[in-house]
Symmetry: C2
Subunit: 341 residues, 2 copies
Amino acid sequence: MAAIGDVARLAGVSKATASRALSGGGHVAADTRRRVEAAASEIGYIASPAAASLVTGRTKNVGVVIPIVNRWFFGEVLEGIERALLSAGYDLTLYNVGEHGPARDRVFEFFLARKRVDAVIAIGVDLAEHEAARLAQSGKPLVCLGGRGAVDARLAIDDHAVGTLATEHLLGLGHTRIAHLAGLDAVAEPGSVPGERLRGYLDALASAGLAPGEGHVVEADTTMPAGCTGALQLLGRPGPRPTALFAASDEMAIGAMIAAERLGIAVPGELSVIGVDGHEYAEMFGLTTVEQAPGEQGRLAVDAVLRLLGEGEVADPLPDSGAPLPTRLVVRSSTTAPPRG
Amino acid sequence: MAAIGDVARLAGVSKATASRALSGGGHVAADTRRRVEAAASEIGYIASPAAASLVTGRTKNVGVVIPIVNRWFFGEVLEGIERALLSAGYDLTLYNVGEHGPARDRVFEFFLARKRVDAVIAIGVDLAEHEAARLAQSGKPLVCLGGRGAVDARLAIDDHAVGTLATEHLLGLGHTRIAHLAGLDAVAEPGSVPGERLRGYLDALASAGLAPGEGHVVEADTTMPAGCTGALQLLGRPGPRPTALFAASDEMAIGAMIAAERLGIAVPGELSVIGVDGHEYAEMFGLTTVEQAPGEQGRLAVDAVLRLLGEGEVADPLPDSGAPLPTRLVVRSSTTAPPRG
DNA sequence: GATTCTTCCGGAACCGGTTCCATCCCAAGC
DNA sequence: GCTTGGGATGGAACCGGTTCCGGAAGAATC
C-alpha cells in the first residue's frame, strides 16, 4: 500500500509538503502541487482516514440514529441524509435503535461514545436524559429531527398546526362530523407527534364550536393495515357516521380508503379522507394530504450538522433555527363537500 | 480525553501491558488485568478506533451498498444486517448507490477504496466489471445478496424456482388462464430477478402444456401503485380474462388486489392472486405468497462476511455455499380454485 | 542597499494505540 | 544446584498522516 512518504519521495518533496499539497490548506507553489498530485495518482495513493483522524480528531463521519428503517418517512429521511452527507464527503454510520434496552444502551454508551463519528443526527427518537447527557459530554454536535428530549438543535414540523390545517380543510368544505384516526398513545402522551396532531384536530373543531362524535377518535399504529382495521372499527359502529376522516399518516389514510371501499362507502362521495406525509403512494390513491418533505428534512439536518462542525459556508443564510419545517396542503380527489341531507 | 497511557500509569503498568489487558490476547496475570480494567473504568477510558485501526489495519466496520433504502425488501435486509453487525461489535457504513453515474463511481472509487471498511456487503446491485475489480483489488471481502456480476460470494434465492412454485400452486388449484405481473425489463434481461421469475412462470406453464394468453404478461415497477396500474391494464383488456395472477412482488400483488376491487372483480372468487416476498402487509390482505426472509438473509450475509474476516466460530457449520436461500409457499385467502364455467 | 514581510518548504514531533523483542522471574526437570 | 522453559512485563518501534517551527529565498518597503 502506498503511503504519503512514497508520494513525497516520487515527487521529490517532503512528507509535509505532500500533505499540504494533497489536503492541507497551507501555501504550496502551484507547480509543486501539480507534481505531488501527479505522483499520487501515478502510484494510486489513497490517504488513510484512520491516520488523518488520529491527529486531526475529525473523522468525516456522521452517526445517524433511527428507530426503524422500514417505514416510508424514515427511509426517505435516511436517503436524504445519505445523499447530502456523501456529497459533502462524509460517511454515514447507521444505528438502528429501538425500544430502551441493553442493545440501545450499548449504542449510546459504546458505539457513539467512541471517537468514530464527528456528530450525531437522531431521527424521531425520544432521547432519555442520560442518553442526551452522554452525547453532550462527548462534545459531539447533536441534531434532532423530530422526537423529544432536551437537546440544543432540533428540527421539526409543527404537528399541532398540521392537525389544525387538515381539520380546517375539512371544516371549510362543510363537514361537521369529522373523525380522527390518531397515532398510538395520542391521548396518553400529549407532547408526542400523534398527541400534537390530535390536539390540533380538537382545537380546530372547538374553534368551529364542534366536538368529535362518540367513538370518532380511534388510535392505531401508523401503518396501512392498522389504518384499515381502525377505519373498519370506526366506520362500522352504529350511530351517525362521520362524513370526513383525518388520518394521522398517509399510510393510515390509504388503509382507511381500502376499508371504506370494502364497506361500500364511496370516497369522497360519502367519506372525505385526508392524511399527513406526502407519501409516494398518495398521488396514485388521489389522497388529499398535508405534505412534509422528509428527504428535504434530511438534507436540512445535514446542513445543520455541517454548520455546527464549522463546514458551512459563511454565506449560508442561517436558518430561522426556531421556525418549524415547512408543510403544505395538497388537495386531491379524496376530499370534497359532505353529502347533502 | 483519557488515553491508554493514563490508564497504564494509574494501574502502575506499562502501555503494552495495559493494551494487552484491555484488548490484546497476550498473557496477562489475572490480578493485573483486574487492576487495569478498574483504572480504565475509573477514568472513563474509551479506546480510539482510529489509533487501533492505524496499526492493526482492521476497522471493525462494514460497508453496505444498497440501491434504494425505501423499499420494503431492502429496508428489511438492512435492518437484519444492522442488528447482526452491531451484536458482533461492528459498525455499518451505508452507501446508497443508484444508477451508474458520477455519484456511484465516487462511492466505488473513493469511499469504498479507502481503508475505512473491512468488508463490503452489496444488496441487490448489479456490479459492473470495473466495480467488482476495484473491490477485489482492494483485497476486501465482498459478499453479494442477489444482484449480478462476477463475485466470489453470492447469496441469493432461486428466482426461477420461485416463479415455478407460484405458478404450480395456481395450476394445482385448476387454473389454466394464469397471467403474470412481471418486474421491469423481465423480458429484456433474462438473467435478472424479474427475468428469472418470468422464466420460471413460463416453464411451469409449458410443463402443463400451457402458454400465457395474449397480453397476459405485463411489466411494471415492483410497487403497489405500479402493480395496480398494471393490473387495471391487464384485467381491463377485452378477451378471456385470466382467472389467476402471479405478481412478481407482494406490493404489486396488493396493488392488483386493489385494482380488482375497483373493477368489481372478486378475489379470490373470480381472480386468484399470488405474490412474492412475505411482505408485512401480506397477512392483512390475506395474500398468498412465496415468502423469503429478508431480515434473515441480511443476517446470513453478515455471517458470511464475518467468516471471511476470520471471525467466525470454527464450530459454525459451513453453509452450503452454493445452495440458494430458502423460500416457502404461504397459502392464504387470495387463492382458490377457478370459478366453474 | 538594508530591512521587513511573505511565500514556500523540510525536519521533527505527535496523535494513541499494537506488537516485536528483550528481560526477569519462578517452577519444573535433570 | 544448574539449566531449561514459559508466563508476565516493560521499552521502543511503528502505523500514516498533520502540524508546529524554523530556515531560505524572493518581493516589497523605506
